[in-house]
Symmetry: D2
Subunit: 333 residues, 4 copies
Amino acid sequence: MKVALFGAGRIGKVHAASIKMDPRSELVAVTDVMTEAAEALAKEHGIAVRSPQEILDDPSIDAILIASSTNTHADLVEAGVKAGKAIFCEKPIDLSLERALQVRAIAASHDRPMMMGFNRRFDPNFAAVKAALDAGDVGKGELLSVTSYDPAPPPVSYIKVSGGLYRDMMIHDFDMCAFLFGMPVSVMAHGSCLVDPEIGAAGDVDTAVVVLTYADGRLATIRNSRRALYGYDQRVEVLGSKGTLAAENVVENTVVTTTEAGVVSAKPVYFFLERYMRAYEIEWRAFVDAFVGVSPVPASIQDGVNALALAEAAHRSFLEGRPIEITSALTGA
Amino acid sequence: MKVALFGAGRIGKVHAASIKMDPRSELVAVTDVMTEAAEALAKEHGIAVRSPQEILDDPSIDAILIASSTNTHADLVEAGVKAGKAIFCEKPIDLSLERALQVRAIAASHDRPMMMGFNRRFDPNFAAVKAALDAGDVGKGELLSVTSYDPAPPPVSYIKVSGGLYRDMMIHDFDMCAFLFGMPVSVMAHGSCLVDPEIGAAGDVDTAVVVLTYADGRLATIRNSRRALYGYDQRVEVLGSKGTLAAENVVENTVVTTTEAGVVSAKPVYFFLERYMRAYEIEWRAFVDAFVGVSPVPASIQDGVNALALAEAAHRSFLEGRPIEITSALTGA
Amino acid sequence: MKVALFGAGRIGKVHAASIKMDPRSELVAVTDVMTEAAEALAKEHGIAVRSPQEILDDPSIDAILIASSTNTHADLVEAGVKAGKAIFCEKPIDLSLERALQVRAIAASHDRPMMMGFNRRFDPNFAAVKAALDAGDVGKGELLSVTSYDPAPPPVSYIKVSGGLYRDMMIHDFDMCAFLFGMPVSVMAHGSCLVDPEIGAAGDVDTAVVVLTYADGRLATIRNSRRALYGYDQRVEVLGSKGTLAAENVVENTVVTTTEAGVVSAKPVYFFLERYMRAYEIEWRAFVDAFVGVSPVPASIQDGVNALALAEAAHRSFLEGRPIEITSALTGA
Amino acid sequence: MKVALFGAGRIGKVHAASIKMDPRSELVAVTDVMTEAAEALAKEHGIAVRSPQEILDDPSIDAILIASSTNTHADLVEAGVKAGKAIFCEKPIDLSLERALQVRAIAASHDRPMMMGFNRRFDPNFAAVKAALDAGDVGKGELLSVTSYDPAPPPVSYIKVSGGLYRDMMIHDFDMCAFLFGMPVSVMAHGSCLVDPEIGAAGDVDTAVVVLTYADGRLATIRNSRRALYGYDQRVEVLGSKGTLAAENVVENTVVTTTEAGVVSAKPVYFFLERYMRAYEIEWRAFVDAFVGVSPVPASIQDGVNALALAEAAHRSFLEGRPIEITSALTGA
């Protein structure tokens, strides 16, 4: 499987490394509007920098990996579909649900694997929670709680183009809820600006709580903060009819120091690269598995639409101060 | 300090033991409509069973401890006020906020210590969270999460007269939020019947999530379930500007067994008697401290009104499917 | 059961409280060479100070609890035997194994309950390890490790009359090994003075490791230090043919604080009163159980001899730098 | 840095992967008496199978990595020294201390980096303990405890040629003690055959405890078992004058399942490949660092001699049932 990479930034580099680790896939080209970044990545991997069009036109390239900026995702997916490529696209499809639905329509007829990069589904801890829940280890799920705090907020310049916390940051948590509990029928969002007034001035929140309600009465809560000074706090907890499942944080090491000051153990790893490095590898392997026909794509365009639909509903709920219903039309049901 | 006990049931017995453990207080009488229960407790403590009126009329009795059924609390507080007794009253004051406000009015002029039995404030773990939060150990509090699951639901006959989950069970958690974060400005409640359809048939929920919004943007969530098969799950977590504070469960013992089946440690203690026995002792000592003038009452009638106001708002929010504002009139501000 | 207490010091007070908590036993007299201590305890419990002889001569007194200084234990046990009392004696019987064997001989014909105060057997955590080991939860025990560190060394004046670390401090750990694994066939001791040179000058060690060898090849290690600045470190771990059992420390509370400095949880409780308060209560209840005939004495004079035999062997091993055999004659087999 | 690999077995493959991960080193050849294994590894890495002599004679090869069977180590180190190669050698140098001392003498004049593969020094958890100890986080070290249990014993055929538990398995733990505390002055070993009578029949033990005594009074204990059914139990604990440092096990994931059966978390990872994969990577990077002159070799031939000297002393101590002194001649002091 020959792969071309769109985007040579931080996440593009992670994916390039994952491609290298699966012997079934080979990175053959990279493209980026930032020429220097593309050149550097190409040099490191001994590959060529090529234009997007050259990549799409080259029949020897089997798959494209879209890790460029969010506003290019939808167009590139469409171009990839037309060019008959297998497509791996970083989340989100687009900041607009309407545009995402267009992409879904176009992709509907595509017969190559298409996968959304919801990396957390491949984290071994969350995957173990999913497996245990599906296996009935705690009976039927009733109450899901997702905690997701970043160590520090991004620059306000980024906040301004991000689409807001619900679409930019919480989208991962919406997907986690969909992954574990499926699609809810209603979303209620609460948000505040507590971390940095500049974020509020930019019209966004930095601290938020969302409650999802399911048709059968199950409930899910998501807690987000742009700042947990101690690192990347990424936990999931499910109360079921027979007990509780919890995925705790991944910590830096296992050393415990006990002194008069207390019992001190290591902090959560600092951010997503440390926490999800292994998830990125497993995620890529899953895409190659789908490409070679071993198993279906584990995170589809529809999953991308679903997460975006929840984000959009949360944003509206926050603005209107009331629960917003999720219509089944959106979720492809 | 001579004390008479109203109510010789499960919680009355706990209080009788606490009274005994503080050398400054002495249990001198007990009363209960269940004559047998009163006789048994009286015998065990070598005291007399007396009628409520005898107790109220006896000037040698300094304080009454109201641990009888909820529907008697308001009347007994009023009677105690009239009789000039120091009063310790189990939560709640009443199931009706209106009645609680009447009691508050009557009690306003009372110059003896009056205290509500919010036992969780005295749990050493939650008290340590409060102290650490007030000391700024994690900076300014931003996001509070209270988890409170009972091991098993009460009989449906009890559910029917309980006033509903928000007033009966979550009232403790509302008080915990008030204890740690103060009074919110808005309450949004979600609830489901997932544990036992009989509870739903009785018009109540058994699983609920509530979000509290504070004037300064802080947020709090409460998660309740009537059933956590593994025991009494009682946790609190605060995200602050500098880190996170969490009070984890109290477990049965410290033994860890590692076999092929996994690493197994002890469950949370089963229910409130095991978990809060020590809290009840400390709570009583605090009341005696207030009686002898060492320190102010740490849980007032107003605190009882506050918790009830939140419960009532949550119940309305659940029924109406929208956030309910908390008016400052209710909360005595 | 009417009880007289010999010794009104720190441990005497603990026992007095335990006697009070079991409704089947009643403290009726106290004696101590320190008159003031005896008076204070007598006053608190509303009982009389009496002379040792008066106590022994009073036929209404069923049991004596010996919590006086170590050098009085053997004589008091003998006197108690002659007076026909049930006897609870704090460890050790004596610092001399020879004297302990005399006491054992005299006590052999005594038909009232006699119990040694090996409080750690009654710690709920260690008792749970014992129960799990006996139940085969980790198969057959193979390797036992006992960790026992005091928070701070006692005064050197005490060290000088203590009989040395192996007899004074490690005797508890020898009993723990005997409790869990039975009597070994050989003892090898290593010791150092690392905490305080004054302790070395007094001819003692403050840090020690002992290895016990069992006839069937099982091994046990004991680690002792007179100083763990963070508190009382009291752990037990057993590797068995199917897994590992460990009793971890009891900590001050369940609060976890996560900041940039790390994840901080509470320290072990500071010393034996905090750690073993509950064990003392349970221990006393076991003695009363034996008195009323509900169950046999769970820690006998022979157990006291056994622990002392191991301590004596360890001391000799340390002095001679070689393993010392334990003869079955000593251990009553 | 061009590297040739001696040994294409399990550990050879691990090293081949580590060489690939450091961009500064390149695997160019492999050799193994098992031709098929060599061919397979060569094919996977796109390199040539060559004879040992060809490798040693090829001046373009900078370094050799010795991961062949133990009995070839000494000869290959000597040959590598003569050929002027940088040398990375898996532990141990040899099963005979005498032979190891010969190798040390020959290697003394070698001016290229030579490193012993004591992988555990590079485990991030143990390395953090070392760093914290050196930084004085717990004051001065006093009591070291190393726990090291394999999940299952090797075949008895392997046991017979292994040199025995002390040389084959505990050698890692001797190096860990040397790494953290330096070289002791005396070794006392206890051993038993509890896991498999066949191991005893082969003249070896499968369960052992060793106590090391240091000149300044510090003590260290090592616990070994060939069988911990739950996985690879690899822990280190140091009591210092100001507290305790402990490196706990690395576990499979962070999921905690709480049901009526207890609180279940994940087991330690199963064996050394899972536990030390990352250590192997870091170890190799350290060798390349030494090669390019960034930092000195972190585990020298002398370290290999030291560990072997302790193993030999332990074996003798076990046979003779007494402590064995470590002479400074052996340890190069």
